[in-house]
Assembly symmetry: C2
Homo-oligomer: 191 residues x 2
DNA sequence: AGGCGAAAGTAAGCAGTGTCAACATCGGAG
DNA sequence: CTCCGATGTTGACACTGCTTACTTTCGCCT
């Protein structure tokens, strides 16, 4: 009870509270409105405008969190992939993230990106760099750029297609298996 | 002037007119509203409800058109790909479609799919089947399913990433080149 | 301590949206 | 010719993002 509800008028840390409730709505349901977020934080409809320029700014902040979380998921055990098999696990983790937090994933990628939000751009760039490093380490000989594009593209594409139900699998275990198979089919003799 | 404006009250072929204006808005700007579409067709705000259950139904119909158009683009010259190089051209065409008609592409894939729209589902399935056929023909020996997943996933992922600006290229020619390179990096020794 | 400016919140309101219910109009089958 | 069902219209409701103007509170300076 350090940074919360001090007086009833001034919230204490509204910005964080708004991000939290917005993220919860994203995880639970699907869409959210600024007004609903404000309501959830127990605050008037226009209060969020003291902390976010507009709806897009809130969404960008959430997307930034999303990129950091995704990066954390990918790098989970703290090691970059050292082999092509490890690379496939990157893909599996990427797709799992998308399926586990679909609304967030859509927010991160589905929206036309306003490239004016520093935090969001930086978080996305960090993710990009992580993938490039991983790829370069796995296949030092090959065309690193093209391979990085392909790796990210494949993971991202599978994530989107499973998310949209364009590709269908019964269980999450089956999804993982098929993602591994797709990576295997393609990395068969690379490097 | 065969199927248009007969009396001023009854439109003649509102459903088609709505789809046309909605598609035009999609091509030109970004988003559209049911009301704006109705306005564009010169009709009251609620008239569309005689032809579409709700906004989603209109969007699904547009998405259906999109899937058919995409299929036509991919199969343009009338031939399925006979080699891996041809397959890369599939990917190039896929990405080009996404970049040429971004709003439509987002509508087709970005929206949580309501799988109750027959037309849309059928159109998407047709596209899926086309890709599977193509892949099976190119690499008859390999794991056809996994390869089809990988091919579609790679094309789709690159399309999304370029569309969102997560991958950046100066000209459309450069995009094409990088898509080809990504496919090449990955299909190097497949089959 | 006290007061004062800025920060953080509220209230009222505008334009726009998706959708519903009730009403108007017209073309075509009987 | 008449009437009925398909097609369009009007009006309204609840909701949204956002602006403007007002109020409350915090914290710093003297």
């Amino acid at each position: 009870m350090s940074t919360s509800e001090k007086s009833g008028y001034h919230h204490g840390d509204l910005r964080a509270a708004l991000l939290t409730t917005a993220m919860q709505m994203l995880e639970a349901g699907e869409s959210f409105s600024l007004r609903a977020v404000a309501r959830g934080a127990g605050v008037s409809a226009t209060a969020p405008y003291r902390h976010f320029a507009d709806r897009d700014a809130l969404e960008s902040a959430l997307a930034g969190e999303g990129f950091r979380d995704l990066r954390a998921d990918l790098v989970g055990d703290g090691e970059l992939p050292a082999s092509l098999d490890d690379l496939a696990e990157f893909g599996v983790a990427y797709v799992s993230f998308a399926l586990r937090r679909p609304a967030l994933f859509r927010l991160m990628f589905g929206t036309p990106c306003d490239d004016e939000n520093d935090e969001r751009v930086r978080a996305a760039a960090a993710l990009n760099e992580l993938l490039a490093q991983a790829l370069a380490q796995v296949a030092p000989g090959a065309d690193a750029g093209a391979l990085a594009d392909a790796g990210w593209g494949l993971a991202h594409g599978l994530a989107c297609l499973y998310l949209d139900g364009k590709l269908v699998a019964g269980s999450s275990g089956e999804v993982e298996a098929r993602v591994r198979a797709a990576f295997a089919a393609v990395t068969a003799n690379v490097g």
